[in-house]
């Protein structure tokens, strides 16, 4: 179903480009239904996702363990390309996954850490405390973020670390406008 045959593909040629159109190869999977007959696939999927929630804390523990190990390796051997990439990917995965796993503040801190790794001109010159504060904060949130009063604390921690990191990155990138533009640009935050 995924591919039309060559005879179905129409090509219009212009001076600088071609426009290629074809019958929608996926049209057969679309069905018009009465509203009363429509089911709720999104609601069903949200329920299924909620059924995984019992595993999220364990998954998050694995993610932060990976981050912690990556940082330990960097401390021991320095920022080799391989270790830098592993630290970035560990933080990047937490940035993407932590909110889904119920740790949105950890996601924010991981994002801040990713920005430091991505935009600091020389990682060896970044104060080690900037890394340890981020990583320790993520560890603390994941291990202790079970009570509502701690959630607001972790959100505040996330905001402050982001500010410290952004101030540092703005300072060290003052002569690198392409990085400065990215650092100061708004992030793409999904609405929900």
């Amino acid at each position: 179903m995924a591919k039309n045959s060559a005879k179905d593909i129409e090509v219009k040629a212009f001076a600088t480009h071609q426009i290629i159109t074809q019958p929608n190869p996926l049209r057969k999977v679309l069905r018009r239904v009465e509203a009363k007959d429509a089911d709720d696939p999104v609601g069903r999927a949200e329920q299924a996702l909620a059924s995984l929630a019992g595993e999220f804390k364990d998954w998050m523990a694995i993610e932060v363990e990976r981050l912690s190990a990556a940082w330990t390796a960097v401390q021991k051997h320095g920022f080799t390309k391989e270790l830098r990439d592993e630290l970035f990917h560990a933080a990047h995965d937490i940035k993407g996954d932590a909110a889904t796993f119920g740790f949105p503040s950890a996601a924010g801190i991981a994002e801040s850490l990713c920005r430091v790794i991505e935009h600091a001109p020389d990682l060896e010159k970044v104060p080690a405390e900037l890394f340890t504060h981020h990583i320790n904060a993520i560890l603390a949130i994941v291990h202790e973020n079970t009570r509502l009063d701690r959630i607001s604390v972790s959100a505040e921690l996330s905001r402050r670390l982001r500010k410290v990191a952004d101030d540092y990155l703005t300072q060290v990138n003052r002569d690198r406008p392409e990085h400065l533009e990215v650092i100061l640009a708004p992030t793409i935050a999904p609405v929900d």
Binding site: V29, L30, R31, R32, P41, A45, Q47, K95, G96, A185
Partner: protein, 181 residues
């Protein structure tokens, strides 16, 4: 009102993170999909793409061997024997504007910034199924039409020449990445 028969769709999910693959599999199965193939790196994904001929690819950006961006570029080879037209949904933790632009220019069809939501994923799938865009081939690009706004006054170096300034009335990839729609 339209409904997607997910059980007739074949998905390829590419993500090096096993937890995210599990979440994606769970969501897709809940939508009704039966055929969900999984790869944990770009090279395996490309091999599976050729072998299983999926209808829709959902790919992470950062992956070992080669990443989601390179995977998109390898799929979007107009002379390839495989299918260069399959919709590619990039699901990624990258959330900067320039990343969306780079993904768009690699031939990505839809962009979904993590954290993932069932609604966001469903709407991206619905869009690629119900509103496929024509493909454009230039010297430097092959992929879904990138025009989504009505800026017919644009006369920059990438303005296509020789046709009326046709536009597609869709929100930009960036606007869509910022919302769930």
């Amino acid at each position: 009102m339209f409904r997607i028969d997910f059980n007739k769709l074949r998905f390829l999910v590419c993500d090096d993170n096993p937890h995210m693959r599990r979440i994606l599999r769970t969501l897709l199965h809940s939508f009704g999909a039966r055929e969900v193939y999984e790869a944990e790196d770009g090279a395996t994904a490309l091999e599976m793409y050729s072998h299983y001929v999926p209808d829709i690819v959902i790919s992470d950006w950062a992956m070992p061997i080669f990443d989601g961006l390179e995977l998109a570029q390898m799929i979007r080879q107009p002379e390839s024997k495989g299918n260069p037209y399959a919709p590619i949904i990039m699901l990624t933790g990258h959330s900067e504007k320039r990343r969306v632009t780079v993904a768009r220019d690699a031939g990505v069809t839809e962009f979904l910034a993590k954290p993932i939501s069932a609604k966001g994923l469903y709407q991206r799938i619905l869009n690629v199924v119900a509103n496929p865009r024509p493909f454009i081939k230039t010297k430097t690009y092959f992929g879904p039409d990138r025009r989504r706004n009505t800026n017919s006054a644009y006369m920059g170096p990438e303005r296509r020449v020789g046709e009326k300034h046709e536009v597609l009335q869709q929100p930009s990839l960036l606007d869509k990445a910022r919302s769930t729609i």
